[in-house]
Symmetry: C2
Subunit: 422 residues, 2 copies
Amino acid sequence: MKQTGNRGEDLRARAQQVIPGGMYGHQSVSLLPDSFPQFFSRAKGARLWDVEGREYIDYLCGYGPNLFGYGFEPIDQAAFRQQMLGDVMTGPSPLIVELAEAFVSMISHADWAMFCKDGTDATTTAMVVARAHTGRKTILVARGAYHGSAPWCTPRPSGILAEDRAHVDYYEYNDIESLEGACRKHRGDVAAVFASPFRHDLLRDQTQPDPVFARAARRLCDEAEALLVLDDIRAGFRLARDSSWATLGVQPDLSTWGKCIANGYALSALLGSDVARKAASSVYVTGSFWFAAAAMAAGLETLRQIRDTDYLERISTIGARLREALHQQATNHGFGLRQTGPVQMPQILFEDDPDFRLGYTWTGECARHGAYLHPFHNMFLSAAHGPEELTLTLEATEAAFASLKLRRATLQPIPKLAGRLG
Amino acid sequence: MKQTGNRGEDLRARAQQVIPGGMYGHQSVSLLPDSFPQFFSRAKGARLWDVEGREYIDYLCGYGPNLFGYGFEPIDQAAFRQQMLGDVMTGPSPLIVELAEAFVSMISHADWAMFCKDGTDATTTAMVVARAHTGRKTILVARGAYHGSAPWCTPRPSGILAEDRAHVDYYEYNDIESLEGACRKHRGDVAAVFASPFRHDLLRDQTQPDPVFARAARRLCDEAEALLVLDDIRAGFRLARDSSWATLGVQPDLSTWGKCIANGYALSALLGSDVARKAASSVYVTGSFWFAAAAMAAGLETLRQIRDTDYLERISTIGARLREALHQQATNHGFGLRQTGPVQMPQILFEDDPDFRLGYTWTGECARHGAYLHPFHNMFLSAAHGPEELTLTLEATEAAFASLKLRRATLQPIPKLAGRLG
């Protein structure tokens, strides 16, 4: 293959040969601005280095898993120590019991835990457990919410059958009437209502949960004798040290966890209350690597850090400072930002930007200047995002606003995005 | 909780509190003899240590992942080096390209690769890709074969709907007429035929693939314009340095890999030929940890070891010696063994043992004497199973045969197994 001398471009060309479409899944940059790197060679703290050696302050955190910083030593050391003893063995290590006990002691609604690898494992198991518990079929999901990429929930229809989601129906998030209507429509057959802690869908403003809605969801599940499943995979431990609706006084029957619960080591979990214990023990779910001990050691140390440090307050503080500073910069340059959702998990869109050309161009410029911000996916902060990272970020965003202002009149629609905005 | 002074028992009691049923999935020992430990504290080479400190020569290899030995330094070091650079980041590392290239260069049928975490991810993606490619629904699977624990394939019905497998139908392995009949029944709607490299189902003798059947499966897929999916998750790289039917001259369109491809690090793969590339790029599948670089570093080093060492010949030699020695021991004690399947992945059942009481008691005694052998699941050998391990194993099995002979007349049916043998 012809070498361009640019390592990132060469890798993309090689990837085109041996990976369908050049990359797949959520880490494909095919819909992102051209300045976004596809491949990274290194990560530390809140920073990433691409294969050209360019450094970025990273606001995706691996799309969530990085909570305490990449390469955070206490957690890496815990994982490494267990790796040297034994990781995937013919049976689990005692850590699976310790980790289940740690979750049960921290998460109010949880009486038991099952561990798996990815978020989709946890949400799919929650669905199966809810059907086993109720003997019913219908799963109610908020329209547009992401709960994984299995056939019953993947957002893209290719290869998916009507039967895969024959008994999945949809309600509008934060809309009590809509959820009531869905429960009425499927009266006697609702197995579970899935909800995200807040609305964090792609390509739109985030919406905080209405506490009245959350309580209504709980009540409707109780009335229908269905299970309430809180999908805390994306938001878990960035909003609270408990499940994310605990602050609203609403306890789910099942909650799903993943992403950051082992600070980047592959681990997800389904937590449940006693009401669903028997059903959970009746289903058959497993995976070759679900019992791997090193990720559980990382998980235990992560829970310890969550319990014993002020990580959450620090993330919230730096997130609030970022939001305020960006608002100021945008205003100074004549732009309006829509910064929505919790400051720990910001979504940053532009006002008067229906086809995303402003946000797309701005984040492209941010990447050029060393801040990795996403044009249409919610972002994540970590405890490694400190004042120095904030300063570097704001230098990049300031330069990006200045560039955007100069180019504003000449911007064109983004061809790559046209298909997603229809 | 009351302490018994026995660490294994105490852990089981604690697990009962916080894990549904005390344990779940394939690593639960609830159906195994009482002498089998549930929890392990350490693993090295071909050996395991339970939480009481008892040592076992392990013939499960973590149910497959251990190919070169637990804690095999060249692979651990490769993973550790990458872990220190970056594991789960906001994008993949260049290793994903190198690993895809390595697979494509080693596996004859493969033109591309997608990586995921567990076997179920790979088989489910294969199903979705086949449906996307053909625009059809039906998936044909050998009756009794295990292809994962997603709703479409899990062996236990709890929580599973008829719709989950509405378009999955079954044929008899190695039976050309049966597969022809299934293809005829679903004429015009067959998306894929799934096959394992050989029959390695639970609770029964293993069966080598009939080469005539394998070629017929290829021909029937060609005639139906369906995809042939070889599920090499369990057998891959223990039979060949290529996909497992390459020695029969049969190339699948898709193959699924997992278990040992990174010697225990969490990694699975879907490999495909060009015919399915477009479909593979059209589906949306992903996972938080699918792009984790450390497991890919382990995978690359594992492929290097597979390519450059005589591991396969060593595993085959030691497997043949084990089979012959066990045959001799059994004969000496008046027992007949049915040792089936490839010597690298033995299944060991007893003649005249319809309710498994002989095999169950024998493997229970083997565990007591330090050899971890399974009474009804196929086993796995690794390159760390050397002459010393064989000697220790045969001491344990000899003692177990002697004990079994003494107890033979008084053995009772195994209550735990009654439900599985109905």
